[in-house]
């Protein structure tokens, strides 16, 4: 199943220019693992605010590319962080898995 909403993705491509989209994908793929790392260490340090902020960025970036599932999962974690509740179960692992699948599809769309 596609992780990317192609309508959103194509609109983005049109807006920023087709030649530019791969640069944009690269900066997302470069940045997202840092956000996941930030979320993991925030969990370890019980830093709800840092957790929330990283989840917020992930949510926002995923939505930009039309990665709706990833965005929704990140959004859920952002709410946990906002509520200062870091009992998130395996939700971060689920989100990370969704990110890897999203990343694979984005790499294909780049080509």
């Amino acid at each position: 199943m596609s992780k990317i909403d192609l309508n959103t993705f194509n609109l983005l491509k049109e807006t920023t220019g087709a030649d530019f989209i791969s640069e944009l994908i690269d900066s997302f793929l470069e940045d997202a693992p840092n956000l996941i790392t930030q979320m993991r260490s925030a969990l370890a340090n019980t830093d709800a605010d840092s957790f929330r902020r990283a989840a917020h960025s992930m949510k926002s970036n995923a939505a930009t590319f039309g990665a709706m599932e990833l965005s929704a999962l990140a959004r859920e974690l952002e709410i946990f962080g906002r509520d200062k509740n870091l009992k998130i179960g395996n939700r971060l692992d689920v989100m990370e898995e969704s990110f890897h699948q999203t990343a694979n599809q984005l790499k294909k769309l780049k080509a």
Partner: protein
């Protein structure tokens, strides 16, 4: 007909790199020049040191968030007129509402829809252009201080008590001058004269708020209080007389009429505010001090000195002026005599 929008200089403040790139790229595609900042602090620094037509501001940011940047801009007279569009996630609408209530121009939800982006940016730029024109127009018909005060607080009739200095200036024997030459020549003469006098007054922080025929009235220290209003008024008067000397030399060289003026200054409490009607009003000052300044100006004809001031004004002067104590003089409407001084370089 849709006007082709002028390219504008925009600032995108967002801590998220992808957002920053998408926004700045989209805006560049629309023909604008775009600068970016990674957090509120960096953004505010850029707003203060460069000039932008519009700012796109993220709310959720580390170091200094969008609220803080917005408030800092709104509290700064010089930055207040830059339109700020908040950019936020859909779920942050509560925060957005708060920003719009505070004074943000508009908002956009992320991910930004390019058509909406274009429409909002162009609408905001157009509004800013109209406001700038408005401001320019205000400044033509009112002084800068009054224009800013009006733009800030809105217009309402009514006055408040202020401590300030009032200056009256009048051309000697103007009726004779006007009768002896063509009306167009008189208008030219007046325009040349007024523009020099306005410069001298504005250069010293004063504002002209009335012109009647060949006379003018200026205020120092209102609507914005200035501690040195008395000294500034006297300095302006001396500059006016200096300017007039040069003006007269030029007039003489062209075989044209020369002008002589009398200036009177009084300082103290007065009522300042807008008088008139809701549709036509001027910013002016009233009260005893204002009447006294006018009487002192008339007194220059009797005292045969071009610049006279009251005792109160004299008390605000440093030692660097050449003062001549003319003693007490009795003025119409005043129960007690007033000490008058003549000032020269």
């Amino acid at each position: 007909m849709t006007a082709i929008p002028e390219p504008a200089k925009l600032l995108v403040i967002d801590d998220n790199k992808v957002n920053r790139i998408v926004l700045s790229r989209s805006l560049e595609q629309q023909g604008h020049v775009v600068e970016t900042a990674e957090n509120g602090e960096e953004g505010l620094k850029k707003i203060r040191t460069q000039s932008f037509d519009l700012v796109l501001l993220d709310i959720e940011m580390p170091i200094m968030d969008g609220f803080q940047v917005l408030e800092a801009c709104l509290n700064d007279v010089d930055l207040r007129q830059i339109p700020i569009i908040m950019t936020s996630a859909m779920e942050e609408l509560d925060a957005v509402v708060k920003c719009v209530e505070l004074g943000a121009e508009d908002y956009l939800t992320k991910p930004v829809n390019p058509i909406l982006l274009r429409a909002r940016i162009n609408a905001s730029l157009e509004k800013k252009r109209l406001r700038d024109e408005h401001r320019k127009l205000f400044r033509t018909f009112a002084t800068k201080e009054v224009a800013e005060e009006l733009l800030r607080t809105g217009f309402s009739l009514g006055g408040k008590n202020v401590t300030a200095s009032v200056l009256f200036a009048d051309i000697r024997a103007f009726t004779t001058i006007a009768e002896s030459q063509e009306p167009s020549e008189t208008i030219d003469l007046l325009n040349g004269y007024f523009s020099l006098m306005f410069d001298a007054i504005n250069n010293n922080g004063g504002s002209v708020n009335q012109m009647v025929g060949d006379g003018l009235m200026a205020v120092f220290g209102a609507p914005l209080f200035i501690e040195e209003h008395r000294e500034l008024a006297v300095r302006a008067a001396l500059e006016m007389l200096d300017q007039l000397k040069v003006f007269n030399i030029q007039q003489a060289a062209q075989n044209k009429t020369q002008i002589h003026i009398g200036i009177g200054i009084a300082s103290g409490n007065m009522i300042a505010g807008y008088t008139g009607t809701q549709s036509r009003a001027i910013y002016t000052c009233n009260g005893d001090t204002v009447n006294l300044a006018s009487r002192i100006e008339s007194h220059t004809k009797v005292a045969l000195r071009p610049l006279l001031i009251d005792h109160n004004t004299r008390m605000g002067l440093s030692d660097s002026y050449h003062l001549e104590d003319l003693g007490p003089a009795l003025f119409k409407g005043k129960q007690h005599p007033v000490n008058i001084f003549s000032v020269s370089r």
